[in-house]
């Protein structure tokens, strides 16, 4: 959608510099205007080893606009290789270099021919947002870094995992970590490229995986399908990020069946996990059952991933009712009808309405007019704070822009994650008593 937007939930495609940044020792080189990185480097925990001020950038000026910026790019790559110590350099292009028609791919190819570890992705801001930019980076890695005619042998039990948008989703790290642990519990090894101790060695293992697991309603799916085409790595698309006992057990069963694991063993594991989970729930059941101020109805204003995951948890585990839900990351039209179906697939035939609206102001107008039959439970971003105050909602901020919380490596995924989610919700709810 290309209309004017207020209180938007995403950045432009060049924001995919954060996808590159979240792969250890992989450095983005920007062929872009001087302020692009400054505009896009908001997020949680991005003063990492390659902080945005470290990124080399051609800082395009009038001179390059008039005479072309290819020489400037060549010089910048050459010197970046001399000054900054990285394993792989990813040249990403912004609006201005693409409008003036620089052939960045050609410049990058000349380095690759010399055996330098440089690849290229086209990420002009006018072409899409940072969710799409993430896919374009993944595809550039698969096509330019992995697809060099090598033969790869499959490693039994190795699973490529793609889930949340790195550095943009505040919980991206914790989510991947939690998924890695869940897979380990059923005897699979997660191959993740983002975060601590992963990096190039894991990228190189991607074609060796037994299958790829995409845990997101749509993000990453097309990239994983590319792996299937190029390297014959099959893809298991599991749309729902599992939160809570019911959904996590379902997830473990489905993955076990797909990977042809010993299902009885998984059932045993699930029984143990659920038993411990309900030990905690039992101890705090009086809070969940007998406080009279917790909301009955809720709205999630986030991306499709959380809209679906938290709706499923709150309905299927906690017995709440969904008001309208919002997936605001400009979900590509081709995925929307499938995603709508996911919101109809809940217990007792309960269904939720999902909106793909991208304008925050419009969403807030709808929330103000809706009847939540009590205090609304509103799960969103910093943008929802104002409407939360106006509607006296129980408000929990979980998505970008996240201004009033610090999330380091926690997650709402799995059995443990759901308990953390309940802690966070009730830490808001219980403030009504104080």
């Amino acid at each position: 959608m290309g209309r004017t937007l207020d209180q938007v939930r995403y950045k432009c495609a060049l924001g995919a510099m954060q996808t590159v940044q979240s792969i250890e020792r992989v450095l983005p080189i920007l062929h872009a205007g001087p302020g692009c990185s400054d505009k896009l480097s908001t997020g949680n925990g991005n003063s990492g080893h390659f902080a945005p001020r470290i990124f080399p950038c051609t800082n395009l000026s009038e001179k390059e606009i008039v005479f072309g910026g290819e020489e400037r790019l060549r010089e910048t790559i050459e010197n970046a290789l001399r000054v900054i110590d990285a394993d792989l350099y990813v040249v990403i292009t912004g609006c201005s270099s693409e409008i003036i028609g620089d052939d960045s791919a050609e410049v990058v190819n000349s380095f690759r021919l010399q055996g330098k570890p440089v690849i290229h992705a086209s990420t002009a801001g006018f072409k899409g947002n940072n969710y799409l930019g993430y896919e374009w980076i993944l595809q550039a890695l698969f096509e330019q870094f992995l697809d060099d005619g090598r033969e790869y042998e499959t490693e039994k039990g190795l699973v490529n995992v793609f889930a949340s948008l790195p550095l943009h989703d505040p919980f991206w790290y914790g989510n991947l970590d939690a998924l890695e642990n869940l897979l380990a519990d059923i005897g699979l090894e997660a191959n993740i490229i983002f975060g601590y101790g992963k990096g190039l060695k894991n990228i190189e293992r991607i074609p060796r995986a037994e299958f790829s697991l995409v845990v997101n309603p749509w993000l990453g799916l097309e990239s994983a399908q590319l792996l299937e085409q190029k390297f014959g790595v099959p893809c298991l698309h599991y749309p729902n990020l599992p939160v809570g006992a019911f959904e996590t057990s379902k997830f473990l069963m489905e993955v076990s069946e797909f990977a042809k694991l010993d299902v009885e063993k998984t059932k045993k594991l699930i029984a143990d996990k659920e038993s411990k989970y309900y030990y905690y729930i039992e101890r705090f059941a009086d809070i969940f059952l007998e406080n009279r101020i917790m909301s009955k109805r809720f709205t999630v204003v986030s991306d499709a991933q959380y809209a679906l995951a938290l709706t499923r948890f709150l309905v299927n585990d906690m017995g709440l009712f969904p008001q309208k839900q919002y997936a605001m990351e400009d979900v590509p039209a081709r995925h929307q009808s499938t995603i709508r179906e996911y919101f109809k697939d809940m217990n007792y035939g309960i269904e939720a309405e999902i909106s793909f609206e991208t304008d925050g102001h419009t969403v807030h107008d709808e929330i103000e007019k809706a009847d939540y039959m009590g205090y609304p439970l509103l799960i969103g971003s910093a943008w929802e704070k104002k409407v939360a105050v106006e509607t006296a909602a129980h408000f929990l901020s979980i998505s970008w822009p996240l201004n009033e919380r610090l999330v380091i490596n926690s997650s709402y995924v799995g059995y443990e994650g759901a308990l953390k989610f309940l802690e966070d919700i009730y830490s808001v709810v219980l403030t009504r008593y104080t």
């Binding site: 004017t4 432009c12 908001t42 606009i65 006018f126 201004n403």
Partner: protein, 501 residues
């Protein structure tokens, strides 16, 4: 100087000969500036910096009763996310009912790059005017509409007749300049062309005025100065400067940050425009002089006691109040000496590197010398003649190294690695890099701290004392988290990549 008939102001490289790449001593730099040759250098390698678009937002995001329409693809202006909370709370220090920051983005996509973005902008302006009823709508124009040739001035001229809000285009495409401070000229250019006009006093008066109240108002205005605040100042800084002016019988009006539209009109009644930072204001106050005959003072920045005294005396001179000002300066200075005594033994001879805005780093160096500390290196975002007056408050800095670089931490890291200072004082955003060199760190500015005037000297001293007393966090992060530069870079001349443009 009168550029007001142009659509956009000239860039500072041309107007002021501003330079953004230099490595050498402060003495050499000042000499190069005088000879007019510092704008001839650039870099063969550079890291990300800011652009005039992002810096423009520093002022316009603070305007009260305004809606900002970022005209560009969806990433442009995304950095404003971080300013949402601060913008709201600082506006409410002026007006408890002020709205927080409202900004829209015209969200230009591939089709717009081909067809042009003017219609989308029109829609956005109409929507903003109807939905939010602001006093002003600012339209910062990013690279894309500038490259595809959107005529934003024509759009504004067409729509101004139908909107209640005053429309202000800001020509701040990032590619146009590497001297990002041109942003201030862009904003003031828009403000001067569209917002500044004489207030209609007759309309503002509820009752028929009498001669006496007319005279009272005129007298008050003749004793009122416009102080031009900057985004890096705090309310405490403003309170301190206002205290000093009040003490010599002058009143202050604050512009432009956190102002509303009418503040720009009433400012025309004041007797004098006073710059706080030369990098910010020269374009605005020179034009106010040419267009409205208001005199101005642009000289030093009131950080450090010598600079504060000099700043105050320049203002006092205009009103013939030097004696009162001198009395105040003497009294303040005595009090400050007593207050600083407790810190001096801890701070003496400590070696400091300063990085940030060139005016601010040179001004802050005066506090350090006052405290008996040693200034061993500077890094300034850019350099031009407006830093010159500040050197007069410093002693023996001709041989101190001066790196002119907008961000470009690779040069600074190399330099700091050689100089081995005891403390780094720096601009926001680079802290995590300097900390990895194990250095204690004082932010060069902070919108919740006092740096200016006499109380500012005390506050800075107190904070340095605390920061030097426990630098463990930075030492430990340095031990565990190395910087990402190749070992060979530290052997290289820090200014190796500076070349003739």
């Amino acid at each position: 100087m009168n550029y007001i008939t142009l659509k956009s102001p000239p860039v500072r490289e041309e107007r002021l000969g501003t330079g953004v790449a230099f490595g050498g001593t402060a003495g050499e730099l000042r000499c190069a500036q005088r000879e007019g040759c510092i704008n001839r250098a650039s870099r063969a390698f550079s890291q990300t910096q800011g652009c005039q678009f992002t810096l423009s937002l520093g002022i316009i995001n603070s305007l009260r009763n305004a809606v900002i329409i970022m005209h560009g693809p969806i990433g442009c202006g995304s950095c404003s996310i971080g300013a949402v909370g601060a913008s709201q709370s600082f506006k409410r220090m002026r007006d408890p009912n002020a709205e927080g920051l409202i900004w829209l983005n015209t969200n230009l996509n591939e089709a717009d790059v081909i067809a042009g973005g003017e219609n989308k902008l029109k829609e956005a302006i109409r929507y903003a005017d109807k939905e939010f009823r602001p006093e002003t709508i600012c339209v910062p124009i990013s690279c894309v509409p500038s490259l595809i040739g959107d005529d934003v001035d024509a759009v504004v001229a067409e729509l101004q007749a139908e909107t209640a809000a005053v429309l202000i285009p800001i020509h701040c495409a990032g590619f146009k300049t590497k001297a990002m401070a041109t942003a201030y000229d862009d904003v003031y250019h828009g403000v001067l062309r569209h917002l500044v006009k004489k207030p209609n006093l007759r309309e503002d008066q509820r009752t028929v005025s009498d001669d006496l109240s007319d005279l009272r108002r005129k007298y008050r205005d003749s004793r009122t100065v416009n102080l031009l605040n900057v985004g890096s100042m705090s309310r405490q800084d403003e309170a301190e400067l206002e205290r000093l002016l009040n003490a010599i019988g002058l009143n202050a009006r604050w512009l432009p940050c956190y102002s509303s539209a009418e503040d720009f009109r009433y400012a025309l009644l004041s007797a004098l425009n006073v710059s706080i930072c030369g990098t910010h204001d020269d374009y605005f106050i020179e034009h106010l002089k040419v267009l409205y005959g208001i005199p101005y003072v642009i000289d030093t920045m009131p950080i450090g006691r010598k600079n504060t005294a000099r700043w105050l005396l320049k203002i006092a001179e205009h009103f013939d109040l030097q004696d009162r000002a001198q009395q105040l300066i003497d009294a303040e200075s005595r009090e400050l000496d007593e207050a600083l005594a407790q810190f001096r033994p801890y701070l003496k001879d400590k070696r400091v590197f300063l990085g940030g805005g060139e005016i601010r780093v040179v001004a802050t160096a005066e506090i350090l010398q006052d405290l008996g500390m040693k200034v061993i290196g500077f890094k300034g975002h850019h350099y031009d003649r407006f830093a010159e007056p500040l050197f007069e408050s410093l002693e023996d800095v001709d041989d101190v190294l001066f790196n002119v670089a907008t961000q470009q931490p690779f040069e600074q890291i190399n330099l700091v690695n050689r100089l081995k200072p005891d403390l780094y004082i720096g601009h926001t955003g680079g802290g995590n890099l300097s900390a990895k060199q194990g250095l204690p760190l004082l932010p060069l500015f902070g919108p919740t701290y006092n740096y200016m005037g006499y109380s500012g000297v005390f506050e800075v001293a107190r904070r340095i004392r605390r920061i030097l007393a426990n630098g463990q966090f930075n030492k430990k992060i340095a031990r565990h988290c190395p910087l990402p530069y190749k070992a060979s870079w530290y052997e290289q001349d820090p200014f190796h990549y500076i070349k003739e443009a």
